[in-house]
């Protein structure tokens, strides 16, 4: 409760400073709108459905891309974790790929998929996959030996050991991987939507820029941040916390 009050005070403080700068009239109004103008744009955008529509379009791309990266990520991760030689060979490359900002893939996406949906999803997938590979590998490699020993003395065969012990034991890492991949995919989506057609959030942002409508641009930045925060905090963190508690890893 106290925290909430502090946060509200913080937001009011930011708005106050913003308003102050606006009043100083350093930049023309269309380049530096007031908080009230942005608020109105947000309101209108939701009323006439543009924002909801954009969010739906963006989420569709995000979900498709996210699921593909989770599937790829888990598969690659399992392959890497299953074999020491593969692990040592490709490990550094995965880390290198993970460090590449998604926007770097745009030229490739454009050349290979031109301006279609596929180009954007391609970028989203590249944004989310590598992290998932790394987390899957870590999860599999870090299964507590005592779990596997216990299972072995209870008579599991190799397949049972994998499905009934290793995979469930790796779930905390898998969930954390998914949470991070979601965040990476979300960022990648915003980069990906700078190109291509359609009317996702990113494209609305570019449109605002082209129209010189700073109010719209700021509104969308606020939306992107809010959605990113809300999904992370209210969906993924919640799941992660539940899992960590059950797995006895929350202290």
């Amino acid at each position: 409760m106290k925290r909430l009050v502090h946060r509200i005070i913080f937001v009011l403080f930011i708005l106050l400073i913003w308003q102050l700068f606006f009043k100083l009239n350093i930049w023309p109004n269309y380049l530096f709108p007031s908080p009230m103008m942005v608020f109105q744009t947000l309101l209108e955008g939701f009323k006439d459905g543009t924002f909801v529509n954009a969010i739906i379009i963006s989420f569709k791309r995000l979900l498709i891309g996210f699921f593909i990266s989770i599937i790829f990520g888990v598969l690659f991760g399992l392959i890497i974790a299953s074999n020491e030689m593969i692990d040592e060979t490709v490990g550094p490359f995965i880390l290198a790929l993970q460090s590449i900002p998604s926007i770097v893939w745009l030229p490739l996406a454009l050349l290979w998929f031109s301006l279609g949906e596929a180009a954007i999803i391609f970028v989203v997938v590249l944004g989310g996959t590598w992290n998932m590979v790394i987390n899957t590998r870590t999860g599999i490699k870090n299964v507590q030996p005592v779990f596997m020993q216990a299972a072995k003395t209870m008579g599991v065969n190799k397949i049972q050991l994998f499905w009934k012990v290793i995979i469930p034991a790796a779930v905390p890492h898998l969930i954390t991987g998914m949470r991070l991949s979601w965040a990476f995919s979300w960022r990648a989506l915003m980069a990906g939507e700078l190109i291509g057609s359609g009317s996702g959030l990113g494209q609305l942002l570019m449109w605002g820029r082209d129209m010189g409508n700073m109010s719209l641009v700021i509104s969308i930045i606020i939306l992107i941040g809010s959605i990113g925060y809300l999904t992370d905090n209210y969906i993924f963190k919640k799941i992660e916390n539940k899992v960590l508690t059950r797995w006895g890893l929350n202290t």
Partner: protein, 263 residues
Amino acid sequence: MAFLEIKNVNKYFPMENGSQLNVLNNINFKIEKHEFVSLIGPSGCGKSTLLNILAGLIHADSGELLLNDKAITKPGNDRVMVFQESALFPWLSVIENVMFGLKIQQIDKKTAYTKALKQLKAVHLAEFKDSYPHQLSGGMKQRVAIARALVINPAVLLMDEPFGALDDQTRLLLHKELINLWLKTKKTIVFVTHNIREAIKLSDRIIVFANNPGRIIEKINIDLPQPRNKDNKKLVELENRILNLLQSEMNFEGGYRYEEIGA
């Protein structure tokens, strides 16, 4: 021929400096069916290693291990192990943990459930069947672990310091429970411990190990019926005898400190 035979077992582990550490040196003993045998000795003398070899989790470098005249080569559910730290699966509820060993034998769910519940009752934890391991105390976890092992009905129950991490009161309680279970099921149990009193109270036979290289220095029979009174004169004598045996091994690093052996 004995039920479980350990013949001339040797085990070496490579050390950092490239040399080989002789963890088990020419280990020989036999265990009869229904016998409760404790392995006791200083830290690092190879007790866990030997138990892991019996479980088939690691291999001896030489020697023979026979259970019912058949060589032990790999893990199997005729030799189930209970570990010091809780090895319960945190993603399964208590009853699902106990059902684990049955379900992997493709035993149908209903039968498995009935058997598991019965076993949980035997360790007085039936009302916690739907709890998850993180909601249990250390002692409860070990009781579930024991139930999970016994429900499989193994020929031998291997226990590696199963009560080592518990407080004294809980440990005493679990001693009682284990003895009762053992009297009822007449399982063959190989029990590793640091605790002399624990070994004396529970076992038919104590095998005393020494360090560097890990080897047997004494085998002691205890012909007293269960349950035992800890103030029995014979037991007190035995305790002193084992303490002396172990203390004579104290003059090297990693040797026994009193608090490690005193109950």
